[in-house]
Symmetry: C2
Subunit: 151 residues, 2 copies
């Protein structure tokens, strides 16, 4: 499979679409791969590699965690999914779809998905002032959510 640049996710809407895309890029549609993509579509949420592995394991217990990681990397290169890093704990993966940022509460660890519009000013200022191209999706923003503010 070519590992050069993400072909910017076309409209892949189903598990089969993804597998087709994988195959179109020289990959193979394996059991583990299919199950992982299914898990991603079924929950359509932010999930850690461990959580995805748990879902896969419900059906196929011997899919190894390293296989999960390798496939996640693969799918990310194809532009099917994206992952975001949080200050603490494992990264979360989610279907690429429309881009969005993440606010993560330092206390309860909850993630709030937010539209890119929230970052517009930051992106512009960083660009103008430092020539820095902010990727608002890659790092989750830390803070405290409404429920946790008070303590």
């Amino acid at each position: 499979m070519s590992r050069t640049r993400p072909p910017l996710a076309p409209d892949v809407q189903t598990v089969e679409d993804v597998l087709a895309l994988v195959r179109a890029n020289g990959g193979r549609s394996t059991h583990a791969r299919r199950l992982l993509v299914s898990a991603l579509f079924t929950r359509d949420d932010h999930m850690t590699a461990e959580e995805l592995a748990a879902d896969v394991h419900a059906v196929a217990p011997d899919v190894h965690l390293s296989t999960i990681y390798r496939n996640l990397e693969e799918l990310e290169e194809l532009g099917v999914i994206a992952h975001a890093h949080r200050a603490h704990g494992p990264a979360t993966y989610h279907l690429a779809g429309r881009g969005h940022g993440h606010l993560v509460c330092q206390s309860c660890d909850n993630t709030i998905d937010v539209p890119d519009t929230l970052f517009r000013s930051l992106v512009r200022l960083a660009e103008e002032t430092y020539g820095f191209a902010v990727d608002p999706h890659y790092t989750a923003i830390s803070g405290r959510c409404e429920a946790c503010r008070g303590s």
Copy 2:
């Protein structure tokens, strides 16, 4: 030492000031502690625990890494230093001073310090829309720096 709330860093300008603050909070001014604080002041930069340990080890080779971590935690509780998480790699520690955010390049890993003003709009929108209090210091923002954009 009371571990309740950070007493919001007073004006501590020197190593001795910090040690005094530590003692005022029931801590002791130990060899390891003094060396760590020195390293922090000497470089006055963003440093990882390992880098700080290296500086300390230049003088006292048997200060254990766990001691470095414990002291960093201690100093952070006293408001003397702060740390920021980056998407990859270890956290970086720096003197608290005036707060600032961080832009970290995904390619070259360089950190750019930026004033809080860059985050003003994000902070306001997150607050208004989600009741979420963004802490722009805690998580470094990922992206690509001027030099690395092109590849």
